[in-house]
Amino acid sequence: MAIETRKLSKSFGELRAVQELDLAIEEGEIFGFLGSNGAGKTTTISMLTGQLRPSAGAAWIMGQDVTVDYKSLSHLIGVVFEFPNLYLRLSAYQNLYFAAQLYDVPGTRIDELLERMGLTDRAHDSVYEFSSGMKQKLVIARALLHQPRVLFLDEPTSGLDPTFARGIRELVRSLREDGTTIFLTTHYMDEAEQLCDRVAFIEQGEIACQGAPSELKREFGKPLIKVELRDGKAATLSLESDKDRRQLAVWSEANALLSVHSQEASLEDVFVEVVGRPIEA
């Protein structure tokens, strides 16, 4: 198991930020951790990466207890923070060189990652001059320097333009092919749907439900179809309703159907169904 938690909890005074979290994430999996802002996503990442001490429960990364010796985890994990926390007065190369020295990684790896992120031409420019997307790419490069087996991505595409966001999603897919386990937090449901093998919804510090996106959509979605008729009318029918199924058969026999579109539930719909309200960015 790449990541495992048992009743992992964190309280800040009276506020119970994360409550009795149970997760089991396989190696090589992309796991989406979805929820509104303030739901407990970043607190969970902070506990799993040794930045915060849990109030109760236990967590393991690649079999190592995160609460015992979190520094021994540093070579196993990489973290892409939501905020691009870089040294702005240093160049891209100097930021990576500093990280390479901390992790005892050879300098050739820096050139390799700058190339992979398309930052080679700007390697010696101050990070002050970088756009948000370039900073985010540099943060990802820094997280990948020591080739971590588990990568935590905290809202990696938040605030990025669609081109950069697409590039980062492609990178995440390629990392899975390399065997890296990815723990992704996001409030972009379509992103999670495209990338994740499994997702969990977190609401007010508790897991509301978890599973593969397709399973969740089947379980919580409503099988609807939208039909357009030759007379210009349209209707939405439920495949679970006998009455609607009979009506569909009638229109079909009468050759009255112009088009039929499946109205498969999205993860957003599942979230609304489970949590009772839309996700808040």
């Binding site: 001490r53 923070f81 040294y87 100097q94 901390l102």
Partner: protein, 247 residues
């Protein structure tokens, strides 16, 4: 490479590219240069009831320690507070570096700045050859460690650069008063209070070394007292950061 040196190298690179920090360091050199043109022997500052003022020691103290004050009040706290403000401290937390490595790296940079700036301060003020002895050099070295430690300690209480810029000067003013208090005409009550400030030891030894009256016993007592304060300040700083880390 040792993690202390790795972090120190990065901090040094960051600091020399920070125009604000370079600006305040230049101010400390201007203060030192100003000492060259000020004639301390003109006028009467002390009344007959107070001990005579040792202007030579005062001038030497200001030349050496005003750069320390600038480094302690601005350079060191800002290095640490910027790590919090920019959230780069979170990156360091998940890296192989411990908080002790982070603090030690910054302490090294602070000490290097202190020594380099006070050396330049002595040259600029024309005091470079007036009082250099083993005792005075030892106190300058210990003073740089103390002032840097106080800068790191004060940074534990600030989250933003604005807070650091507003408040970090206060402990420095106390330390600086301890340094120059010995050569100022103070009443007995205030003089006794000044003696409790650790930097006072540096001042006493500096004056003694300038007069040629420093003994090995005096030196040992002041170094032990000074060293105890340094150990306590660094231990408290590490404890405060370790306590806030992970909670």
């Amino acid at each position: 490479m040792n993690l202390w040196l790795v972090i120190a190298r990065k901090d040094l690179l960051q600091a020399v590219r920070n125009r604000y920090l370079i600006g305040v360091l230049i101010i400390s050199l201007l203060i030192s240069a100003g000492l060259r043109v000020i004639d301390f022997d003109t006028g009467t500052l002390a009344s007959n009831e107070l001990p005579p003022v040792d202007f030579q020691a005062l001038k030497f103290s200001i030349a050496v320690f005003s750069p320390f004050a600038i480094v302690c009040a601005f350079v060191v706290p800002l290095m640490m507070v910027e790590e919090k403000e920019r959230q780069t401290l979170r990156f360091l937390q998940i890296s192989p570096a411990t908080i002790v490595d982070v603090l030690a790296g910054k302490a090294l940079v602070g000490i290097v700045f202190c020594l380099a700036m006070s050396g330049m301060g002595l040259i600029f003020s024309g005091e470079a050859s007036s009082g250099l002895s083993a005792a005075s050099l030892a106190m300058v070295a210990l003073g740089s460690i103390l002032f840097t430690g106080v800068g790191l300690l004060s940074s534990a209480f600030f989250q933003t650069s604005l807070q650091a810029n507003t408040w970090a000067g206060i402990p420095v003013m106390v330390l600086f008063f301890g340094l120059i208090g010995e050569v100022l005409p103070l009443g007995s009550g205030l003089a006794n209070l000044v003696k409790l400030i650790p930097a006072h030891s540096a001042s006493v030894l500096l004056r003694a070394s300038l007069n040629g009256s420093a003994t090995v016993e005096d030196f040992a007592i002041h170094v032990i007292y000074f060293g105890a304060w340094i150990a306590a300040i660094y231990a408290l700083t590490i404890w405060l950061y370790q306590r806030s880390d992970h909670d």
